[in-house]
Symmetry: C2
Subunit: 97 residues, 2 copies
Amino acid sequence: MTLDEAREVLCQCRREIDEIDQRLVAMLNERSRVVERIGAVKQSVSLPVYEPKREDEVYANIDAANHGPITKDAIRRIFERIIDEMRTLQRMRMEGR
Amino acid sequence: MTLDEAREVLCQCRREIDEIDQRLVAMLNERSRVVERIGAVKQSVSLPVYEPKREDEVYANIDAANHGPITKDAIRRIFERIIDEMRTLQRMRMEGR
């Protein structure tokens, strides 16, 4: 592969990454809206926000859906960050911020 | 809202979260495959793996795509984790692991 050919392929790959990232951002916000709805429902009937058993279910679902190349540990670390950020957002909303 | 009604809504919301997470996992793996392709192309023509200018473009694209409810800082932290995990994977592949 020549340097020019390589640059061409890289340019195409970057367009793909940008397009995937836009879809990821949209989907993460969609997830966040559902998390907010859960928070509002729980608050209205005074159910606890944090339910460790449900969290186990979330990770089991992610593990089952993951067929690589991302490893099990790596996908878990990514979702730990996602879940943590959404929990923070949910807490802010419930405190009326 | 009664407790039974709340449980019903929560159950529906959780099904939605599980379905979104499955799509997120698939899309993250799709992104990872493109990152691997980039790594292979760069290696074949000896281009540097890390390009800070391209990283700035990635974050600019994410910021522009984000219309909330996730905040700018939160989405950035999520993508920092995603990019970091994929960089690790790319390095492992290039070292032949």
